[in-house]
């Protein structure tokens, strides 16, 4: 914090005024941009969520709570919990994806960390490549893999999981497969950076003191990777909850998630107020979920970001 006068940082004597003028020049433009082009739009859809849909798809006054009550279930045709269900399903999708990704990322992270130095970079790059490859491409490819003619589908048919000739998508399982495959690198990378920094002497000390393998993992290793784990989970949970492309391509019309619902309202039904309400509620819930999670496990994740 600046003092009244003559604070010195990095060898420069700066007054409060000095800090202010330099902040304006440096942080000013960026903050201005993000405020105008993000904060204002977010506030605006908050406003729009209280407006009414116009006849031909526009929107305007009067202000109303209708969008929110409709969301809560009091729709045209009686009480219908459709939208709360959608939000719930999206949260489950987000959490589920994060959970499965975590289960898969842990072995991968330890695998890469355990590689001898020569191969470590290669192993890591092999995770980086899918990470940097377009999500859309990696998603629609599953339509090919889960098509009726593919060997995977044949296998499923042989196992009696599905009837011959029908694809394995659209289905909830297909969505999860696509989600986990797409988001796995997002969790591996931050997790790996924590795993790499593990102080193994702590695990050795625990083992030396008589702890069995499970306890060593739980008490000596897991706490050390928590920052990376938390960062990775956050990096997966948020986009996963709001996804509409993957449920759209692999789930079809049957499975509607929050992202699909918002997209429908904005682009197809042209009911922007209602769409804004869904978006706002969805965003709020995700942020609340994050806040709860951050409270629970400390603020370390933020630093890693």
């Amino acid at each position: 914090m600046a003092k009244k006068k003559g604070e010195v940082k990095f060898g420069e004597q700066l007054t409060v005024g000095g800090h202010l003028s330099r902040s304006v020049v440096t942080s000013g433009p960026g903050i201005f941009w993000v405020t105008v082009f993000l904060l204002v739009p977010l506030v605006w859809i908050g406003v729009v969520s209280f407006l009414t849909r116009g006849e031909v798809g526009g929107y305007g006054k009067p202000f109303t709570f209708e969008n929110y009550t409709r969301f809560a279930g009091f729709g045209f045709f009686g009480f219908d919990l459709l939208y709360p269900q959608i939000i719930f399903r999206s949260l489950v999708l987000g959490a589920g994806t994060a959970g499965f990704c975590m289960l898969a990322a842990l072995p991968l992270a330890f695998f890469i960390a355990g590689m001898p130095a020569r191969y470590k970079n290669t192993a890591l790059t092999l995770v980086l490549i899918p990470f940097w490859t377009n999500l859309l491409i990696r998603t629609y490819a599953w339509q090919i893999i889960l098509a009726p003619e593919s060997p995977i589908t044949h296998l499923a048919v042989a196992l009696g999981l599905t009837t011959a000739g029908s694809p394995l998508y659209p289905s909830a399982m297909a969505i999860y497969i696509g989600m986990v495959c797409d988001y796995l690198p997002f969790l591996v990378l931050p997790l790996y950076s924590s795993v790499e920094k593990i102080d193994w002497s702590i695990a050795e000390a625990a083992s030396d003191l008589g702890a069995d393998k499970l306890r060593v993992f739980w008490h000596a290793i897991l706490p050390q990777v928590t920052p990376g784990l938390v960062a990775g989970i956050v990096l997966v949970f948020i986009p996963a909850t709001g996804q509409f492309v993957i449920p759209d391509l692999l789930g079809g019309a049957k499975t509607v998630m929050m992202g699909n619902a918002i997209q429908q309202q904005f682009l197809q039904s042209r009911d922007w107020p209602f769409g804004s309400a869904i978006a706002f509620i969805g965003m709020g819930i995700v942020l609340v979920g994050l806040w709860v999670y951050a409270r629970f496990s400390g603020e370390k994740g933020g630093e890693l970001l």
Partner: protein, 364 residues
């Protein structure tokens, strides 16, 4: 001598961090060309003081004068002062040559002159072949020399050194201590040296200021500080000291007979007795090397105390003894002049002689 402008004057300097006073009304005058050390443990304010002199920090109260000029409004980059940092702070993206030339380039010195001065300084600190290397390719000792060269090449009025040898191993540190001292003598630049290592301060300094909790507790030449500490803190910080409480029985102009837990002791006051010498009760301090161990049959004479040998610690050139006289613990150090046992073993009884001139009165 008195009319010469001091290199640095610090008057009534105060620096607060929140509620804590890192520097509390500090006054110090540093003479031109002297090697002056600020000695103390972490948190005593020595680095803060150094940084304020260098302009890297600003005081809340007080005056700093460099060469007689009030430096408070002068920012760091305009002060005729250079710093050698504890972490060396070499510019990672520049070569050794460019690092050293940095200050000269800032002053827009002509290229040929830069080349000449940089080469000279590199020879001086013996890093001539390293010109094209980058800091990442240097060892700790080499980095330290580059940091030194980078500062010294600018011919500052005062050179500030913030624990420059802290990160080096013992042998290298001792070697560089001597080299730094020789360098200072050659260049005749005023050095202000911050350290927590009392031996280092004693080896290198003309004068030392022992600091504690933001204040200078005692300041003076090395020998005077060591042989005449004023307080318990100084006596224990520079070397170690035996402490004995005493009550005055009889008093003379330059001496006193004092009653203590180990018996009657005669104390000589010396040239400048501290104010506490006038009190009825004070604490006496005596350095372990002044404490002489004698055999039991040599108990005749003043200031002799009967002790028991509790511990015997052999350190090669010296033997240290931990002795006990009733409740009083005493340590004695003796050089191993003769080969083999000095004749005192653990559990044995002996006599120690505490010379009257070696017993110092402490101010606290």
């Amino acid at each position: 001598m008195a009319s010469e402008i001091p290199a640095i004057e610090v008057e009534n300097l105060v620096r607060r961090f929140g509620d804590v006073e890192a520097l509390s009304h500090v006054n110090v005058t540093i003479r031109k060309g002297e090697f002056f050390s600020l000695l103390g443990p972490s948190g005593c304010g020595k680095t803060t003081l150094l940084r304020i002199v260098g302009g890297l920090d600003m005081p809340d109260e007080g005056i700093v004068r460099i060469g007689g000029t009030d430096a408070r409004e002068i920012p760091a980059h305009k002060r005729p002062v250079n710093t050698v940092f504890q972490s060396y702070a070499l510019f990672p993206h520049l070569t050794v040559y460019d690092n050293i030339a940095f200050g000269l380039r800032m002053k827009k010195v002509a290229k040929p002159e830069i080349s000449e001065r940089v080469k000279k300084v590199m020879d001086l600190v013996e890093i001539t072949p390293l010109g094209n290397r980058k800091p990442a390719q240097l060892s700790g000792g080499q980095k330290q020399r580059v940091a030194l060269a980078r500062a010294v090449v600018n011919e500052p009025q005062v050179l500030l050194l913030d624990e420059p040898l802290g990160a080096l191993d013992l042998k290298l540190r001792k070697q560089l201590q001597v080299e730094l001292l020789q360098l200072q003598r050659r260049l005749k630049i005023t050095f202000i040296y911050v350290t927590h290592d009392q031996e280092e301060a004693l080896v290198m300094s003309d004068r030392i200021a022992v600091m504690r909790a933001g204040k200078i507790e005692q300041m003076g030449e090395a020998e005077s500080l060591y042989e005449h500490p004023h307080t318990r803190y100084v006596s224990q910080f520079l070397g170690s000291c035996n402490l004995i409480d005493g009550t005055v029985k009889r008093r003379g102009p330059k001496e006193a007979i004092v009653d203590s837990i180990v018996g009657e002791l005669r104390v000589e006051f010396g040239q400048n007795p501290p104010a506490a010498a006038q009190r009825d009760k004070f604490t006496l301090a005596i350095r372990p090397e002044k404490v002489t161990l004698c055999r039991l049959d040599e108990s005749a004479g003043e200031n002799r105390v009967k002790v028991r040998v509790d511990e015997l610690i052999y350190i090669g050139s010296e033997t240290h003894y931990v002795l006990r006289a009733g409740e009083q613990r005493l340590t004695a150090e003796a050089m191993n002049v003769k080969v083999g046992s000095q004749g005192f073993d653990i559990g044995q009884e002996a006599i120690v002689y505490l010379p009257a001139a070696g017993l110092l009165v402490l101010d606290d």
